[in-house]
């Protein structure tokens, strides 16, 4: 603002001409339109060691203008003094007089109006015997009314050493009278949620029962403008004051000034703060105007009952996960063990509890790992395990071994070292718990696609609540088995153990092998046909090893011979497959495009959308079962494809089979955390329409019906 500059310039000119001090460019007074500031001294006994010496900056504010206290409140800056004194003179800090509350609409400042003196105590060094003390001061202050003006000045003053300087005695006396009195009030404070609760046991009698204003010396802790609630109980005082919603500090101790505004007196006390400060910025107390805030905040939910209902739904969801194709065989295994133990109820219940613990802990561990990685800025979502080819290969290996065991190719007790097998038998509880862990690991390929959206939302919850949801999910998953053990009638209803168990076991091998087929297909997408074939070879060799070492009815010599041969074959296979297996940790571009679908990029979407085209994006991954089902059925449906063509829809596919930060970012933008996501960008609409995760021909066609056929661009 040029006029302001001019004003300052003229002020400076006026100051310079009005004060004829030939020796010094600066004088003791600086006058602007807003303030008259003067450097003053108080040395009633002259300037000598051991005698009192006070310096100060006296500020007289023009009506309506104010400067600030050490903690200026919601805006403003404290006045600063920089002294230049002869060597060994020590100037103390400003001894701030009691501040006032200065409201500015919904905001609150702390400062001074009218006449103010900021006194500073100065220590005179031993051996000082000059006739004059030359004092220089650089002072800066911010003075505000409607407008704020940063002002400052260079001041100079000479104080005679051998004479009394007490022209401003009354002014200094007034400033001292306005000092807060230090008290030992046995004060303490604690943080309770979004509130700071301050208590003091023994405040001076003069203050008791009075309304006290609370001024913390640390800025940015409390909500300055909020109404504090105080209570007197004899000499005991309690104050509850909301914390600042944008609190950037969480001090362990606070110094504060309490002011009785009516009497013009006050005390200063320090106290420790106990209790945990909420994470910075997490206090959801009212900002300047709570009414306006709630009106414009999009999210409004009821906390307590909603959360209980959520936990309940998570339990139900977890129970339904048992029907997933990769979970069911494992569950079946457990139920068989169940039939075997139908007689020993106590053992059964203990086992079931251990199994439940294993499932719940595994869910918690996976969720915690995911939350931790995301907090660390990793671009991953649920199902992230499957983005690692090594993990997929390991899963294929595990499933093959389980399948072979179910099919009866080998027996565990023959393969495992004797003491390990005995350990399993001797520790059925640990065995049950490990089965629980296995169930979760094994289930993750099937659950992953469905957890994506849920986890995207869970990321908005505090970590503790999100983890509680996942624990409930695990509990739900373990629940059917747990209930069956606790309900003896159910156990008795199961068929008696018999040859059917063997047949059932063999039957369960087939879903296991089917899962292996699918995992290898995923692997093929990730690392190509050579890598997948290498893993397939390794699996075959491993099957040979398992048979050689674990098949029943084989003589000692034969087992030794076959065992040695199988291990050699396994070694050779690994050596042969090694070059292709090395691709396990070197990513290959996943193939997603075909003639109709082009690879996705945010730029391509924006470009096509800008031309008025309709864009459909399929966010998919090879390891996502739902994605594949949708892709093979609905998105390959001739009617749907014809609809796409008719409307000139640009089809794009974003393949998240491997980790890809750009796709993760885009998913986050769409509020999702996993695939599948189907986004339809309609012409003229900034935000895409998101279709359900489980597509149907009808759903896609209905969505497309919003695009008129006439908008099809030529060509």
């Amino acid at each position: 603002m040029p006029c302001l500059h001019r004003l300052l310039f003229w002020s400076a000119l006026v100051v310079a001409s009005a004060l004829p001090l030939p020796a010094l460019a600066a004088g003791a007074v600086v006058t602007t339109e807003q303030v008259r500031a003067e450097l003053v001294a108080h040395a009633p006994e002259g300037v000598a060691p051991g005698r009192p010496l006070w310096l100060g900056l006296a500020i007289d504010h023009a009506p309506g203008w104010h400067t600030y206290w050490r903690n200026p409140g919601d805006s403003g800056l404290p006045t600063t003094l920089r002294w230049s004194l002869p060597a060994a003179f020590a100037a103390g800090d400003i001894e701030w007089p009691l501040p006032r509350r200065l409201p500015v609409g919904p905001l609150m400042n702390f400062g001074y109006e009218g006449a103010l003196l900021l006194p500073v105590r100065v220590t005179v060094p031993e051996g000082f015997d000059a006739p004059l003390l030359a004092v220089r001061l650089r002072a800066d202050w911010l003075v505000c009314k409607d407008v704020c003006i940063p002002e400052g000045g260079d001041f100079a003053l000479e104080v005679p050493a051998q004479a009394s300087t007490s022209a401003h005695a009354a002014r200094f006396a007034a400033a001292w009278a306005q000092q807060p009195q230090p008290v030992q009030a046995q004060a303490s404070a604690r943080v309770e949620g979004g509130t700071l609760v301050v208590t003091a046991a023994a405040l001076p009698a003069a203050l008791q029962g009075r309304e006290l204003h609370f001024f913390p010396e640390q800025a940015g802790v409390i909500d300055n403008a909020a109404a504090a609630v105080q209570r007197w109980d004899g000499a005991a005082w309690e104050l509850r004051v909301p914390l600042s919603p944008y609190r950037s500090e969480g001090p362990a101790a606070i110094d504060a000034v309490l002011v009785d505004a009516q009497a013009g007196s006050g005390v200063r006390l320090g106290f420790a703060v106990s209790g945990d400060w909420p994470a910075p910025g997490s206090v959801t107390a009212a900002a300047p105007a709570p009414a306006a805030v709630t009106a414009t905040t999009p999210l409004a939910g009821q906390a307590a009952p909603g959360f209980v209902l959520a936990l309940l739904l998570a339990v139900i969801g977890g129970a339904l996960l048992n029907l997933m194709p990769c979970v069911f065989p494992v569950l079946a295994l457990k139920v068989m063990g169940f039939a075997g133990h139908a007689h020993a109820r106590r053992q059964l219940v203990v086992g079931a509890l251990a199994y439940t613990a294993g499932v719940v802990l595994s869910f918690l561990a996976l969720a915690a790992l995911l939350l931790a990685l995301r907090a660390g800025g990793e671009q991953i979502g649920w199902g992230f395990q499957l983005q690692s080819p090594l993990f997929v290969a390991a899963l294929a290996l595990l499933f093959t071994l389980i399948g072979l065991n179910l099919a009866g190719v080998y027996q565990f007790n023959l393969v495992l070292p004797g003491n390990l097998a005995a350990l399993r038998a001797r520790h059925p509880v640990a065995d049950s718990a490990l089965t629980g862990v296995l169930v979760v690991a094994v289930a993750s390929p099937c659950t992953a696609p469905f957890m994506g959206a849920a986890l995207g939302v869970a990321a908005t919850l505090p970590a503790a609540q999100a983890l509680a949801i996942f624990a409930a999910l695990g509990l739900g998953m373990a629940l059917p088995y747990l209930l069956a053990t606790l309900w003896p009638g159910l156990a008795r209803a199961l068929p008696r153990p018999g040859p059917w168990m063997l047949r059932f076991k063999s039957l369960m091998a087939f879903p296991m092998f089917a899962t292996v087929v699918w995992l290898l297909w995923v692997l093929g997408h990730q690392i190509g046909i050579d890598g997948a074939t290498g893993v397939l070879g390794a699996l075959l060799a491993l099957a040979f090893v398992a048979w050689a070492l674990g098949t029943p009815d084989m003589g000692r010599a034969a087992r030794a011979g076959f065992g040695a041969a199988s291990l050699a074959v396994f070694g050779l296979t690994l050596a042969w497959a090694a070059p292709s297996l090395r691709t396990l940790d070197t990513p290959v571009q996943a193939v997603a495009a075909d003639a109709r679908w082009q690879p996705w990029s945010a730029q391509a979407v924006a470009a096509a959308h800008a031309q008025g085209r309709t864009v459909f994006v399929d966010f998919t991954a090879a390891w996502c079962v739902t994605c594949q089902v949708n892709k093979r059925t609905v998105l390959a449906d001739p009617v749907v494809l014809a609809d796409f063509d008719l409307r000139g829809v640009v089809l794009m596919r974003a393949d998240w089979t491997r980790r890809d930060a750009a796709i993760a970012d885009e998913l986050a933008r769409l509020g999702r955390n996993g695939v599948p996501v189907y986004a339809l960008y309609l012409p003229g609409q900034a935000l895409p329409l998101l279709l359900p995760e489980l597509l149907s021909v009808q759903i896609v066609r209905e969505a497309l019906a919003q695009v008129s056929v006439a908008t099809r661009p030529p060509g």
Binding site: V147, Y246, S282, G317, F450, T460, T626, R669
Partner: protein, 211 residues
């Protein structure tokens, strides 16, 4: 290996889980770090309607501005604000300058005057919004000019506070200060969490309209 039944079950499970988690979203009483930023629609100095929701997917900076405030001028006279704006918008960030000063205040500038000032400063905000009734400022808890907020691509508040680390009205301090907004934008662009999400803003109190 995929049959209709398990898929249906899985869909039900997924639905239950999603519903479960959706229900527990905490009620946000005001703008808070990590929480969804308050939604708003406002008119800019040229009369265009601008909505925060329209920028979902992009990082948005909100800058409370008042050309009559010396702290605002500190950052414009030194070109600090314009440079920060240029670098931000060049990398795809949306920059909204917002004036919440009440028309009754002596500090108020008419939209046309504000537009002229922005242009004269060589400033490049995506839009300059007029918040005469102070609704947006109050919803965000904006206290001073300049007070800056960064909303991440997911619509959550990622930074609130000062433009930089030295609370002074002197342009000469700009070079020595840490620019918190620049730092937050760099961290968000790298996919990292904002290391300093909250600072104490300094400047001139915003003169809000009554109510």
């Amino acid at each position: 290996m995929i049959t209709r039944r398990p898929l249906l079950a899985a869909a039900l499970a997924a639905g239950a889980v999603t519903a479960a988690i959706g229900l527990t979203s905490p009620a946000a009483a005001t703008a808070a770090i990590g929480q969804p930023a308050p939604a708003f629609t406002a008119t800019d100095v040229y009369g265009r309607s601008v909505s925060l929701a329209g920028f979902r997917g992009r990082t948005v900076v909100l800058e409370w501005v008042n050309p009559r405030c010396p702290f605002v001028r500190k950052h414009y006279d030194s070109m600090n604000m314009q440079r920060t704006q240029m670098d931000a918008t060049a990398s795809g960030v949306v920059w909204l300058a917002i004036a919440s000063t009440a028309p009754s205040s002596s500090q108020h500038l008419a939209p046309a005057a504000l537009a002229a000032w922005i242009q004269q400063q060589g400033a490049v905000p995506t839009a300059t919004l007029v918040d005469a009734d102070g609704r947006i400022g109050r919803a965000f808890g904006a206290r001073v000019t300049p007070h800056l907020f960064v909303v991440d691509a997911r619509g959550r508040l990622a930074y609130a506070g000062a433009i930089d680390s030295i609370a002074s009205p002197h342009a000469s301090d700009v070079d020595r200060a840490t620019n918190f907004v620049r730092q937050a934008l760099t961290e968000l662009a790298a996919g990292r969490a904002v290391s300093v999400p909250l600072t104490r803003p300094y400047g001139c109190a915003i003169h809000y309209a009554d109510g």
